[in-house]
Amino acid sequence: MQPISIISLNAYLLVSAVLFALGLIGFLTRRNLIIMFLCTELMFQAAAIAMIAFGAYHMDIQGQVFLIFVLTVAAAEAALALALVVALYRRRNSLDAEVWSEMSG
């Protein structure tokens, strides 16, 4: 195991930040419920790259261990989010997030 340099760390963090920003923009702009949850998965992915990059920089395996738990939470989140999406879809017969806009209060 060799540690990566600060230049490499910065480059990986740049990619991670770009993916996170794109996921955030997707979550805010898309109106399809499924795509909105897909964008949260993109943000998980960005966090995963950042964690592994920091783990490689500090030569600490715990960055990778933590990613296992992130993966667990992401899987649980996907299952619950999709169940919610299916339940919402059955009510209004549409995946449009705008049809639930009266819930904003």
Partner: protein, 318 residues
């Protein structure tokens, strides 16, 4: 601070690019937006790779061509995923992002997590997403043409405000990142020493020492009474000490080269750390998965009206 200026300018240009790519009725500028976005990512990468160029950094300090390619594929896949008007294609582009970032993890020597990511994300989670997308589309397509996107997929919601929010956050993240990583100690040698100390304080280290001792004993290098004190962080050499008190006081010992086939691979390190340091977290993770499974079953069941013995209907539970 020329580099910071380049990065902020790249954020602005990237915002314009993503704005042009977002789905809008009658917009023909998506390709132009993609080109602007790719150019700004390239500019930001160039600025990052030159950011600490005081003296010439040694060869191998910078990420190679594979990193550049995978970074562009990941960013392009992500941009296409949030802008594609058809959900199935968005999910497929997300698989592309996963494959590219798994490649990045392989470059970072995290092989196990790279393949776990491909199997769990691209395999399991994305297939679930595709099932739900197709379940919803099949019902929706009765009223419209087969090849047409749903109207709510064709226009973005508040594109200017969302892109501004996202890229202001990106600029803030990158600005803070350079201020932060500039304060890390830049010498790889110091990192390696710190890492060697970390390995010694690791509870899993005892198991690695046993493995190294077995390997050295098989090779015949380990003399009776000697034990492995630590393994160098390059995994190639070990420091041997004698158990008797005289040499323990003087700190005497010798450095031997480990056998060529001795290696501590990524899965081994990961498993040792997971099982020796986080066993309770592992149990909690199992409970989380069980709860998610129960929750998904409860949430997605259909409410069936039950026949009551009197012949009327009961609405069942809420």
């Amino acid at each position: 601070m020329l580099n910071a200026g380049i990065i902020y300018a790249a954020c602005v240009a990237g915002a314009v690019g993503v704005l042009l790519m977002l789905p809008r009725r009658g917009s023909q500028l998506a390709l132009l937006g993609g080109l602007i976005g790719a150019a700004s990512l390239g500019a930001a990468l160039l600025a990052v790779l030159n950011v600490t160029q005081g003296a010439d950094p040694p060869v191998g300090e910078r990420p190679g061509v594979f990193f550049i390619v995978l970074a562009f594929v990941a960013a392009a896949g992500a941009a296409r995923m949030i802008t594609h008007p058809r959900p199935v294609y968005a999910a497929l582009y997300f698989i592309l992002v996963i494959l590219a970032s798994a490649g990045l993890l392989v470059l970072l020597a995290a092989e196990f997590m790279a393949f776990a990511l491909v199997i769990v994300y691209a395999g399991a989670i994305l297939v679930t997403y595709l099932f739900v997308i197709m379940f919803a589309q099949q019902a929706a397509e009765e009223g419209q043409e087969a090849n047409e996107s749903a109207p709510y997929d064709l226009s973005a919601r508040e594109p200017v405000a969302a892109v501004a929010a996202g890229f202001i956050m990106l600029a803030a993240l990158l600005g803070l990142m350079y201020r932060g990583t500039g304060q890390l100690d830049s010498s790889s040698v110091m990192n390696a020493q710190a890492a060697a100390r970390m390995v010694e304080s690791d509870p899993a280290f005892a198991l690695l020492v046993q493995k190294a001792e077995r390997a050295l004993a098989d090779q015949g290098t380990l003399e009776p009474g000697e034990t492995v004190a630590w393994i160098e962080s390059n995994d190639r050499e070990a420091w041997l000490t004698r158990e008797d008190s005289a040499s323990a006081e003087s700190g005497a010992g010798r450095l031997v080269t480990l056998p060529g086939d001795f290696q501590i691979d990524n899965v081994e390190r990961l498993g040792l750390s997971l099982m020796s340091e986080f066993p309770a977290s592992l149990e909690v993770a199992g409970v989380i998965l069980l709860m998610a499974m129960l929750g998904a079953v409860v949430l997605s069941r259909k409410i069936q009206p039950l026949m009551t013995p009197a012949g009327g209907t009961d609405t069942g539970s809420a």
